[in-house]
Symmetry: C2
Subunit: 362 residues, 2 copies
């Protein structure tokens, strides 16, 4: 295997990446700097067995039930974009983090940080969008909070959503369960959300409008688990992730690292829309690092891969699902190596995002 | 009864209060504008039976357990102040919102919104403080999130904490349960937190340093419930509130409004430190509207009031607890009337805070 190593492209210059003593935008990227902040600042102090599993949701045993519990703040700019807005995104993001733990999403809390001067009508539109998105996803918004900061101390609207769901009996998904030989399944095309945000933010126009894929994925997950928990297939879905910040590369690097395995991807199998591909080429972005908000990646036992893929394709969110790679041999924990066989037959390393390719996409 | 109506003092000028089409600081005050935003924007769309109870926490029935679920974002400035910092405050605030539902606090999520350029050392100090506060309160931080916004789009650090607790069997507290004849109990002196923040923010110096009362209250609550749920006393604690934003006046107005009752307070019974009283007089603040972060107000059946007061006084957080008033007759829902008999024997209406006396105190 020849490694023609290509560095991921980045808008952030080298000195920022080197900054250890100050927070830079890259610390919110979902890439290498986010991982460093977690490792150096948060985990040493907050450490406990539940947090240390490092999944997108905590699973809590309470009174005989297993609850999934997850939090996300949303700072996306612009607030409204093709395919969604900060409100629907805040609902979908937390619904999906619950779903990635195999949970049925039930309840959300919503906390707003508003900037003085925000038009009340803007807030109304966002609240209406959250109402619609939560009804569509079957979750109830049951508690909330609102703070206001002075003009110039915020940016219109920030939203935190925190969610509770129930993990069905027999379901146990975690990023540390990938095994050699497992298949890597992706539910559809990559890069739509990040490029839609960028295009709207920068006023870029393409022949075809690029629309965010922001969507709830819990129904597709339920269908996938329905296949894999029947009899012998139980446990055959090892792990689910939604490749948001940091894109597909970050999700797969986290899984590889936590499971102590390598992952090999086939570039030609990864779905990408022509217009997104074109925009990425024009702008110098690597679509493997661009955020998605309505896609998932699944690590599945080889014998169940076809049945799970079939379940994904029967869901409207997974019509373009593909098997995009394979889990390779075990390697030392923390020494993940995700590689991509390109369309030209060469192989390159797909590393964690360095810096911050696209700030504030969620 | 003679009503010598005194308008609450406010730093916010009239035109801002009148603003309906734009968000003003007062919308985050916990006072009248917060209530209007809730009534006009959030409740009409988010409405559901759990949210509509309007308590500081939702109570969810899941798998035979009753879970309390609550969220708060913290935007306090300065980040560090006498008696605490944004980190310990974020833990205490959510622990206390769970405790006010009678719940035993168990788990927290933590979400940071960081401003680019924040010294990493500042973040470390905050994380260390949260670690200490959560250990002291017996809660685990089990999931988290970090976002970064550009310089000038945030203000150092904003923190959201969302909490889960278990409500013990037989406990049912809600702001709509106050009954005529109930006693109003307050766990200690008012105004310490708000004045400590203001003094540090504005560089004011007093003879004695004023220190925030930020503290977890769940142990005192457990002791109070231990008294009132024994045999015949079950249900005799009707409601608990921590008078944070908007101060004691807001908490009591909410309770009066939701229960459709009046409340009469005795000014001379309300504990207040001399230095806080002096600072309020100097600055033109009404201490009834100043935030507290380690106090609670309880509505208790008259026959249980002395026993509950005794339990409060045996806790270090409640040594100065007092019975400060009585629930009066039923009045139309939404037509709350909280009145205060002053030290001079006159009576004044204690209305919801108009405007925002002290922005960003939590």
């Amino acid at each position: 295997m020849s490694d023609s190593i290509a560095e991921p492209l980045s808008f952030v210059c080298a000195p920022a990446i080197a900054a250890k003593d100050r927070i830079v935008l890259g610390h919110g990227s979902g890439g290498r700097l986010s991982a460093e902040l977690l490792r150096d600042v948060f985990l040493p102090m907050f450490s406990n067995p539940i947090l240390d599993r490092m999944d997108d949701q905590a699973v809590l045993e309470i009174g005989g039930s297993r609850l999934a519990f997850t939090t996300d703040s949303f700072v996306v700019q612009p607030l409204f974009f093709p395919g969604g807005d900060i409100g629907s995104l805040a609902v979908h993001g937390t619904v999906n983090d619950l779903a990635m733990g195999g949970a049925r999403p039930l309840f959300l809390s919503v906390a707003f940080i508003l900037e003085e001067g925000l038009p009340t009508e803007t807030l109304r539109r966002i609240v209406a969008s959250m109402t619609e998105a939560s009804a569509a996803a079957g979750v109830s918004i049951v508690t909330g909070d609102t703070k206001v900061v002075e003009r110039g101390k915020g940016d219109g609207v920030f939203i935190n959503t925190t969610g509770i769901g129930i993990v069905p009996e027999g379901v146990s998904l975690s990023a540390n369960q990938a095994r050699p030989g497992d298949r890597v399944l992706l539910s559809g095309s990559i890069g739509d959300h990040g490029i839609a945000i960028l295009a709207r933010r920068e006023g870029l126009e393409f022949d075809a409008e690029i629309v965010s894929d922001s969507a709830p994925l819990h129904e597709m997950v339920a269908a996938m688990l329905g296949v894999s928990t029947q009899g012998a297939a139980s446990g055959q879905i090892r792990c689910l992730r939604d490749p948001t910040r940091g894109g597909l590369s970050s999700s797969l690097n986290e899984i590889a690292s936590q499971s102590g395995v390598s992952i090999q991807l086939e570039e030609t199998a990864i779905p990408i829309r022509d217009e997104v591909k074109g925009a990425c080429e024009l702008l110098g972005f690597d679509p493997l690092y661009v955020a998605n908000e309505g896609k998932l990646v699944a690590i599945v036992a080889p014998e169940a891969a076809d049945a799970v893929l079939d379940a994904m394709r029967h869901d409207q969110r997974g019509a373009d699902a593909q098997i995009i790679g394979t889990v390779g041999g075990r390697i030392g924990a923390g020494r993940a190596r995700v590689t991509l066989r390109t369309a030209f037959g060469s192989t390159r390393i797909v590393d964690l995002l360095a810096g911050d390719q696209l700030p504030r996409i969620c």
